[in-house]
Symmetry: C2
Subunit: 332 residues, 2 copies
């Protein structure tokens, strides 16, 4: 069978909590045979790899069966994983969440399935997915912020993921916005992530409550402040709670600082913000855009759209497929 | 005459204080017919343009005369200028230092000389010069910091200047490192430039003296603290003055924060630091590299050289020539 007859690519989005697998026609379109399972990293690397391989095989069988096709019609597998990693060797260097070190994830999957594979980090894949089929499908260059337990970043320039000299580019969450500020998990002080990640939003909210702020938040967690998460704060904001709104405005200000820095550096066409925090909608984006206008150069700010991601939950899989196409097939 | 027979390109580096003009063989090499004159912007735009044109004509005549050649052997003129500017139209949008607005600098020079010309901003050109023939001649990608009255930035990725969506990329001096910090001339708070530009270094030194710091600095300016410049502080540091060294260490720390941010974002092969501040040598670079190691991801930091620029005073002209080659001839 010639390369021209390959009709699908498989995508894997490996996270600390979930594994998501899906299939796309090689030219894009609707995501097929999508499935999600828990990662259960505590059960060991072999367990996780076996689970991924099984999910990939199931997705392939599902799509092949529905189309009278076989595995030969699949060009390969794109894999997005937490990093740092080495794209050339397909090896995970070190993932605190999974507990892996120098782990040859790409080839284990490729050999087990019998298809070529490509590996890249999860934040790059999520951003690339938004560029290919999501919020950024009409622009050439964009920068992605993925807000979750941490803040991941991805850089797409002229339709390609920008990786830097050692696959470490895009650590936007660990840019300093307040050099004498909060301590970050990375050991540094004042990282954007230390202010605007999910846990940081919750922590700032709890700190205020502990010093006497009036709010609906304690009621939302039956008085157990330790149960407050970023989602609780969005809920409070949507319910019209003044304090929750204040915390969201602070969050928007910090994010706006980080985004203004990126706009002054890259002068991008678009910034895509992904993650649960975008559920706060205008409570987040209105003050965020105002802070960006205060801080970024007008010539750069006025050409940059700041938008929420649109591929909720699937950007990573879609981007992993796009990444495979770019890396192995030569174009997206 | 065919394009193949063109042998030289002219470079113009227009600054608020000086105009520098020189010529390079099209394949690079030694800078020829170099000349510098005061800009004297107060005498008006026509005066400045006439002066540039005259300098260009003189440089061409000098090189042509020495080689039995004529203007036909010159491919064109690369012009570096303060921005913001529009590269496509060759127009200066607005330069506070020169007092110009929507000024068609490129075509005025091109038409007067009778050669094609290309326009880009001065910090981009200075960085591109270092990439082509200076500190970065062996790398593909680097980021340049030019420290002077302000802090300019330039981004070279895979051998090309990165311009962004509206020619505004690279404003690294105006990234926030301390969101509640010093007010910057740009109106923002906590920009890198507000801490580590020449005037900011002098201001921080004077503030400390005014609150009682012991130092040799007042003696170096006959007691007139208002005469202290960044150069006075380097001089003090080189003389072994403890306070001057402290100010340099603070400067190195602030620069290190800004550079660590850039390393976490771009994972570049090289950072090139240009400007008078590099004369402080190890007084600057040793604490600067230490701060970067504290703040940047190891995987990115350990592959990044942080070096002083090598084309002192000529990076702008050389980079303007490289930029002309890239823009008009299609490669450097």
């Amino acid at each position: 069978m010639s390369a021209d007859e390959k009709r699908w690519v498989v995508g894997v989005d490996l996270g600390g909590t979930n594994i998501v697998v899906g299939v796309l026609p090689i030219e894009g379109g609707e995501l097929l045979a999508l499935r999600t399972q828990k990662t259960e990293a505590a059960r060991g690397a072999k367990f996780v790899v076996d689970r991924i391989v099984q999910m990939v095989e199931e997705s392939i069988a599902e799509v092949a069966g529905a189309n009278g096709a076989s595995k030969e019609h699949f060009a390969g597998i794109g894999i997005g994983s937490p990093g740092p990693l080495n794209r050339e060797t397909g090896t995970i260097i070190n993932t605190p969440n999974l507990g892996w070190r120098n782990f040859p994830l790409r080839d284990l999957i490729a050999n087990a399935v019998g298809l070529p594979a490509a590996l890249d980090n999860d934040a790059n894949c999520a951003t690339y997915g938004e560029w290919w089929l999501g919020a950024g499908r009409d622009v050439d260059s964009l920068i992605g912020f993925t807000l979750g337990t941490g803040i991941g970043g991805g850089i797409v320039l002229n339709g390609r993921i920008f990786h830097g000299a050692s696959d470490s580019a895009g650590e936007i969450g660990h840019t300093t916005i307040d050099s004498t500020g909060r301590k970050c998990k990375c050991g540094n002080y004042g990282c954007l992530e230390a202010y605007a990640s999910g846990p940081a939003i919750a922590l700032r909210a709890v700190e205020g409550l502990e010093t006497g702020a009036e709010s609906v938040l304690p009621d939302l967690v039956n008085g157990r402040l330790e149960d407050i998460t970023a989602a609780t704060v969005y809920e409070g904001a949507v319910l019209g709670d003044g304090y929750s709104n204040e915390v969201m405005k602070e969050t928007a200000k910090f994010l706006g600082i980080g985004i203004a820095n990126i706009i002054n550096i890259f002068n991008p066409e678009m910034i895509v913000v992904a993650g649960g925090v975008t559920r706060a909608g205008d409570h987040l984006f209105v003050p965020l855009r105002a802070e960006v206008r205060r801080r970024a150069f007008r010539s750069a700010e006025e050409v940059c759209q700041i938008v929420p991601a649109t591929l909720l939950g699937t950007a990573g899989v879609i981007g992993a497929i796009a990444m495979f196409k770019q890396d192995v097939l030569g174009s997206v």
